[in-house]
């Protein structure tokens, strides 16, 4: 046996446990999913048949799915802005002062520790009890609306809770990046007469561009899969008004319909859309970073 073959054999031995669980629980499901999407597999019949692209044809006319997809897109777009701007703002404020860094960092990161199921239910209490109390007793009449029950406001409620849940994480990344910006650059810009805002946008922002790429990538990726926060806050309701794609797929497969084949077709489409958007984003941001 040649030395190279021996090396490869030893490699396979060491990778065997990892490869085994990985192939069974990730690779095989990912590949077989494409196949199931072409069948009429469901939880009722023992057998299933190959039906070609029928599922995908049906999917093009599935109003509920596309509405949930559109909702997810809207959610991701708004969350990108709210979560990242609040995270960046917090990071800049905390980093600009000498005291209290550790304290504020610990505090703002806290929601990330708790599952969004728990956090979502806590906010559920705020929206269904506390805000009404504040509206009635403290004269804050603008709070007096059906935050969970009215689709106009439940979107806002979801965004508030989701931003609360992820901003701390993004803030940590922005803080690490801000620490890497040399202070003499800012000082010399200030000596040249730049205002604080000019300093921020012309000096600091380009320097933390890499962190921005990471944070946007991360928000996109986790945003498209949003499940917990909506599940615990509105359950996708009222009706299907706040259903995200992941919730729609979950319902199709596991509650009521049990149409696995059709649901797999949906998840294939979701994967493709996420993949395309991620690739576009990474390319755009890389180009942007190179131009600097």
């Amino acid at each position: 046996m040649s030395a190279k073959k021996k090396e490869n054999l030893s490699l396979l031995v060491f990778c065997a446990p990892a490869l085994m669980v990985y192939i069974i629980f990730k690779l095989f499901p990912a590949i077989s999913g494409v196949f199931y999407a072409l069948t009429d597999w469901n939880g009722l019949n023992k057998t299933y048949h190959f039906i070609g692209i029928e599922n995908f044809v049906e999917l093009t006319g599935d109003r509920h799915f596309w509405r949930s997809m559109l909702f997810t897109l809207k959610y991701v777009a708004v969350l990108l802005i709210t979560a990242n701007s609040s995270a960046l703002l917090l990071a800049v404020f905390i980093e600009s002062r000498p005291k209290g860094k550790g304290f504020f960092r610990t505090l703002f990161y806290m929601p990330n520790m708790i599952s969004m199921i728990i956090g979502g239910y806590m906010w559920n209490f705020i929206f269904t009890r506390v805000l009404y109390y504040m509206a009635d007793n403290w004269g804050m009449k603008f709070l007096d609306r059906s935050w969970i029950g009215d689709p106009k406001y439940s979107f806002a409620a979801i965004i508030i809770v989701a931003s609360w849940g992820v901003a701390g994480y993004l803030m940590i990344i922005y803080m690490a990046a801000l620490q890497g910006v040399p202070s003499h650059l800012i000082e010399s810009a200030k000596l040249d007469g730049a205002t604080s805002l000019q300093c921020f946008f012309k000096v600091t922002m380009p320097m933390i561009r890499h962190a921005l790429t990471i944070c946007i990538f991360w928000t996109l990726n986790s945003g498209f899969q949003v499940f917990d926060v909506i599940y615990s806050l509105t359950g996708g309701g009222p009706g299907r008004a706040t259903q995200s794609a992941a919730i729609n797929i979950y319902e199709e497969a596991f509650s009521g319909n049990i149409r696995y084949g059709y649901a797999t077709a949906k998840s294939t489409v979701l994967f493709l859309i996420v993949l395309i958007i991620t690739v576009i984003q990474l390319n755009l941001m890389k180009k942007g970073e190179q131009e600097l």
Binding site: N8, Y121, I126, I173, F224, I249, Y260, S267, F271
Partner: protein, 276 residues
């Protein structure tokens, strides 16, 4: 100039404090109201409880089988993460040290699959779980977590091993040590820092994951903390004192965990981001 600095500081800290109040508000409201009677909660949600009704907690601990769910979650996290760490340290080390086409192919496969979102494999995965008859099995579920988690862990180990000089293991190999022996006696101890990071992040992931157990575990004797909290919320939807005490009880373990490992958790994120 001094005065200007002072005003700037004051505004800055005021805004940060306002944000902090907002951040803690849901936790704080859940905490104070979890100690009230339901009547007290209905009349005034903003007041402090007149007396601490710990019986809400004892009642909830019984109703959601807190100790059982807690034990299930501990078992699940411990099994999943130990497997993840052992499997991926073995693989990550050899993948880094072997310079063949096969090794770069396997490594590339692991890295690429990190992009596959969970929601797009969950249904075929459910089928695998049914076929292997591991539905409602905590051990089975921890194998699933290992399978889903190894790619990221291998990526991190691979990067870390690159920074370890090869001389040590070469010397040990000349002395006649087998690779397995070298791994356990020399490599694994050297990997400690990255193992700590991987361990902490993945314990948190498994502990806080909801969708996968929701699909795979339907037997309430095997429920994780989140599943039993979720069930309680469904059953007692208007009994807020019961729900809030359940939420606090479910949050306590992670908050203790945070208090203990805060430094490593926050450092792990910042480091991970720089490398990514």
């Amino acid at each position: 100039m001094r005065k200007k600095q002072f005003i700037q500081n004051a505004i800055c800290y005021f805004l940060l404090a306002a944000a902090a109040v907002f951040w803690l508000f849901p936790l704080f409201m859940a905490l104070i109201n979890s100690f009230k009677t339901n009547g007290e909660l209905l009349t005034n949600v903003m007041s402090f409880p007149t007396s601490l009704h710990f019986e809400n907690y004892t009642r909830t601990i019984e109703k959601m089988h807190y100790l059982r769910s807690f034990r299930n979650t501990v078992v699940l996290s411990a099994l999943s993460v130990s497997m993840m760490i052992l499997f991926s340290a073995l693989a990550g080390w050899r993948l880094c040290r072997t310079k063949t086409k096969l090794s770069s192919f396997i490594f590339g496969m692991f890295v690429f699959s990190m992009l596959i979102p969970f929601s797009s494999i969950m249904i075929p995965l459910y089928k695998v779980v049914l076929a292997l008859k591991i539905k409602n099995s905590l051990l089975g579920l921890s194998f699933v977590y290992a399978g889903l988690g190894v790619s990221m862990a291998i990526f991190l180990y691979h990067g870390f091993v690159k920074g370890i000089p090869q001389e040590l293991e070469e010397a040990a190999a000349i002395d006649g040590g087998s690779r397995m022996k070298i791994f356990f006696l020399i490599i694994l101890p050297l990997l400690k820092p990255i193992t700590a990071t991987i361990c902490i992040t993945n314990v948190l992931w498994v502990w806080n994951d909801f969708l996968l157990p929701l699909i795979v575990i339907s037997d309430n004797k095997k429920y994780s903390l989140l599943l039993s909290t979720n069930t309680l919320f469904g059953q007692y939807s208007s009994d807020w004192t019961a729900i809030l005490s359940a939420l606090i009880l479910a949050a306590i373990p992670v908050i203790i965990f945070y208090a203990l490992f805060q430094k490593q958790i926050l450092k792990g994120i910042a480091d991970g981001a720089v490398k990514g």
